[in-house]
């Protein structure tokens, strides 16, 4: 078990939890950048291991999109819509943490045991990845601001990538690039939408958008 690996995985997992704790959106954006950076480093490790150039391209792309572009978009976002951006949650902090703990426990339970056994030496990391996924989902459930939802989706994606890396399931570069392209488009669309939502609703909260009730 590699210490570096452990460190990076823990970073990703902790940022996921961090999303739940922090109340300032600028921190959220930075935390996502940190998380993505950890992912980039993980990918870079596997580039070092394989040495394939296409892998390097992927790493660069991920760095460009998930770290720089995302950070840029989110900080702009926070600056622009400061009064409208909310970071409140439905559950208070202790309750949130209890649920986070429960989800982590579930991720380590016998239900997911077969997944952890894919690469036995990485079992703990794999479980961590799954826990990260579940906690990211919880973020989307719990947080009222739409920024948190966007971050939730992205963090979910990061967790999956991490799991894939640890489980030895990384796909060929062309597919990675395709996925990155999708994420790029997704990021752009969500940021356009955010501004449209702000224009129409004057806030960036999910609770504002509840008129479709049937």
């Amino acid at each position: 078990m590699n210490m570096n690996l452990q460190f990076l995985a823990m970073t990703i997992f902790l940022t996921t939890i961090f999303f739940h704790i922090i109340r300032r959106n600028s921190y959220t954006a930075s935390a996502y950048a940190v998380q993505s950076l950890a992912v980039v480093l993980l990918l870079f490790r596997s580039f070092l291991a394989t040495g394939s150039l296409s892998m390097l391209l992927t790493v660069i792309l991920v760095l460009a999109i998930k770290v720089f572009l995302a950070l840029h978009l989110f900080s702009n976002f926070v600056k622009k819509y400061k009064p409208g951006v909310s970071a409140t949650a439905y559950l208070n902090l202790p309750l949130t943490l209890i649920v986070v703990a429960a989800l982590s426990a579930f991720a380590h339970s016998r239900v997911f045991a077969p997944l952890a056994a894919i690469v036995p030496e990485n079992a703990a990391l794999l479980s961590l990845g799954i826990a990260g996924m579940l906690i990211s989902l919880l973020l989307m459930v719990n947080r009222k601001g739409i920024l948190s939802q966007i971050i939730g989706v992205l963090s979910l994606e990061n967790s999956i990538v991490v799991f894939g890396l640890f489980a030895g399931l990384e796909q060929s570069a062309i597919l990675q690039i395709g996925i990155m392209f999708n994420i790029l488009v997704w990021l752009i669309i969500t940021s356009i939408f955010s501004s449209m939502i702000y224009r129409h609703f004057g806030a960036l909260e999910t609770a504002e958008m509840t008129s479709l009730k049937e």
Partner: protein, 682 residues
């Protein structure tokens, strides 16, 4: 010749006639006149052809079975079976459809320019064809297709007069009820499929022994509810008094005369033909259902002042009577009394035929009246016997027939029904005797009440003075309408006089059912024209007819031509106690039935609304007008359908809460579904 009609080719021609009628009438949608003649003439031709097909199948030595075309669905086979039972129902449907179509030629003219005649003709042809298919289908899926075609086509006919919101509501109720019924039927057929591995009737029949008793009972209950909804058994009848008045009258005649009988047909087919042998309680349940429907049906009819609703309730009553015959047949079969079972079955078949003739006649007559007066409310009619003498005579004939007065046909089928119930009392043991006693008692009271009801109906519509301006200007309907009604009236009498022979044919029809095979040939129901119920009783219809004819002729001749010819007859006003006699003083149809309703108030739960308007507001001694509204509370709605509806609505609102509009909630669902699925499935 008959072989040609009762063959696949003959049947294809039959269907083609209706198909051309339907398609053509749709093509002529722009021109009401062409659409009318096209659709009704083809319906006439088709019905006539249908009668030949039916007769051909009746005289054929063996059941005619064939399969048409192919379908992409392996379980769906367009297979037909024209055994005698099917042929009999084909005959009844075609017969009534024929006269209704003649009637329709003139009747639908009043829709010209108002609603499309093309669509009416289209659905009319489809409707008749659907009924014919229902009666001849020999595959469960194919039957369901035909059943739905029949239901949906009749739904569109019910809402034809679509400007009336009430009609739309009636159509909605009708389709909802009929669809619920169909759901039960589908469940029944699926259960049968589960047990026998086929939807083909023949396969179900031969695999019948393999069906476990539990499944059999379940199928019985499901199909009783399903077919009972179509037939209009109380409490599944709620659509019937709504839908029949809403439809154009020739449609009401067909729906009430024959469509509801398809429910009876399928009960006979499924219970007697496919599922026999069966436990005793099936028959008992049918008997009780019949007794309740008959008695309550006629009571509700009495309370009605809408002429078509009144007739609709009488359909429920008559379905009850038919069920009494069928129920006793089932009971007797369970008790190993095939001879008596045959009697009961013949009674129900005969009443099916008879009810079809006189009920369609009555609906057509009511249609003629409504066409002239533009109201269905009997309180606004009256005195039409002088303005529409032929219609009055025809309606009187129908009334006498439906009231089971000899020598009309209704009497003889009720006679047979009574006999089978009497036999039940005489020949069965203490387990079932009381059921038969109740059934016979219900039938006896039903007969008396039906008589009262038709005195009221005929009296309110045709006798005394017209009670409204419209009723004063009524005219005899035009040629084709009368031409459609006269033969039906003649048939009502004819089927009565020759009922011995008819019963004999019906005995052949019923006797070919598989349940009656293997027993020694039972007694003849009829010999030299008289019908008999074993050694217990018999009646000779021609003798009854002659007796009445001779007695009437003798009295009439003696009275009018032999004696007392010198006395003068003068005409004067009705005695009015010194006040001016106005139509408002006549008894109303509500008033006529009031005493009976009050006597049965325990069952009918009448509601009385009185309002008095006084000339002098303070003293209240001089009432200016009094108004009394007598209504019957609809206990089926309040106790059965409304709670069910409320329950569904409540669940619906619960389910709608799921769609809260909050995206966090939605993602929570995904998370929960994920964790739940993982947890429960692993």
């Amino acid at each position: 010749m008959t072989e040609f009609f009762a063959s696949s080719r003959g049947f294809v021609v039959l269907l083609l006639l209706f198909a051309i009628g339907a398609a053509g009438s749709l093509l002529f949608n722009k021109n009401d006149r062409q659409a009318n003649y096209w659709s009704n003439l083809f319906a006439c031709a088709g019905s006539l052809w249908g009668m030949f097909v039916a007769i051909g199948a009746l005289v054929a030595p063996e059941p005619v079975a064939f399969t048409l075309g192919f379908s992409p669905f392996s379980l769906l086979r367009f297979s037909f079976l024209l055994d005698r039972l099917a042929a009999f129902f084909l005959f009844v449907i075609s017969l009534i459809a024929f006269f209704c179509s003649i009637y329709a030629i003139d009747y639908v003219k009043h829709y010209y320019g108002k609603y499309g005649i093309g669509t009416l003709g289209f659905f009319y042809n489809i409707f008749i064809a659907g009924m014919l298919l229902v009666a001849s289908a020999a595959n469960g899926l194919f039957f369901l297709v035909a059943w739905e075609i029949m239901s949906v086509a009749s739904f569109f006919l019910v809402i034809h007069d679509r400007d009336e919101q009430e009609n739309i509501r009636a159509g909605l109720l009708y389709l909802i009820m009929t669809h619920l019924g169909t759901a039960f039927i589908i469940a029944a057929f699926l259960l049968l499929y589960r047990s026998t591995g086929s939807f083909d009737f023949s396969a179900i029949q031969s695999g019948g022994a393999a069906i476990s008793p539990v499944v059999k009972n379940a199928v019985f209950v499901l199909s009783l509810i399903g077919f009972g909804t179509k037939a209009g058994i109380i409490p599944l009848h709620v659509w019937l008094p709504a839908a029949h008045p809403a439809a154009p009258s020739h449609i009401s005649g067909l729906m009430s005369g024959v469509m509801i009988k398809t429910g009876i047909y399928m009960m006979i087919r499924v219970f007697l033909d496919l599922l026999a042998p069966f436990p005793l309680w099936w028959g008992v349940v049918l008997l009780i259902a019949g007794a309740v429907s008959a008695l309550l049906g006629v009571l509700y009819a009495l309370a009605e002042h809408d002429i078509k609703k009144l007739l609709a309730y009488h359909s429920i009553e008559n379905i009850g009577i038919i069920l009494l015959g069928l129920g006793s047949a089932l009971t007797f079969l369970s008790l190993q009394l095939p001879t008596l079972a045959l009697l009961g079955l013949v009674a129900s078949l005969f009443h099916t035929l008879n009810h079809a003739t006189f009920k369609s006649l009555l609906f057509l007559g009511a249609g003629a009246v409504i066409n002239q007066t533009h109201t269905r409310n009997m309180e606004e009619l009256g005195g039409l016997i002088r303005l529409m003498p032929q219609t009055a005579l025809l309606f009187l004939t129908g009334s006498m027939a439906i009231s089971a007065l000899p020598p009309f046909n209704g009497f003889f089928s009720e006679w047979l029904t009574f006999q089978s119930l009497f036999q039940g009392i005489a020949a069965t043991d203490s387990r079932t005797i009381w059921v038969f006693v109740i059934a016979a008692g219900s039938l006896a009271f039903t007969g008396g009440l039906a008589l009262a009801c038709f005195v009221k109906a005929f009296g309110a519509v045709f006798l005394a003075r017209p009670r409204s301006n419209e009723a004063q200007h009524a005219r005899e309907p035009s040629f084709f309408m009368l031409a459609g009604m006269w033969p039906l009236a003649a048939l009502s009498l004819l089927f009565g006089i020759v009922s011995g022979y008819v019963a004999n044919i019906l005995q052949d029809v019923a006797g070919t059912l598989s349940v009656f095979q293997g027993f020694p040939s039972p007694f003849l129901l009829a010999e030299t024209g008289r019908i008999s119920a074993g050694g217990f009783s018999f009646v000779s219809p021609p003798v009854v007819f002659l007796l009445l004819l001779i007695a009437l002729f003798a009295v009439f001749t003696a009275f009018n031509f032999l004696f007392f010819k010198k006395q003068k007859t003068t005409f004067g006003p009705t005695w009015d106690c010194g006040a001016d006699l106005t139509p408002r003083m006549e008894i109303t149809s509500t008033g006529f039935a009031r005493s009976i309703i009050l006597i049965f108030k325990g069952i009918m739960k009448p509601t009385m609304l009185k309002s008095v308007e006084c000339r002098d507001g303070e003293t209240r001694y001089l009432p200016k007008s009094r108004e009394i509204r007598l209504g019957i509370s609809n206990i089926y709605d309040t106790c059965l359908y409304k709670p069910a509806q409320d329950l569904a609505l409540r669940f619906s609102l619960y389910a709608r809460k799921m769609q809260s509009g909050l995206i966090n909630m939605y993602i929570l669902y995904i998370l929960a579904a994920l964790l739940g699925a993982l947890y429960f499935s692993l």
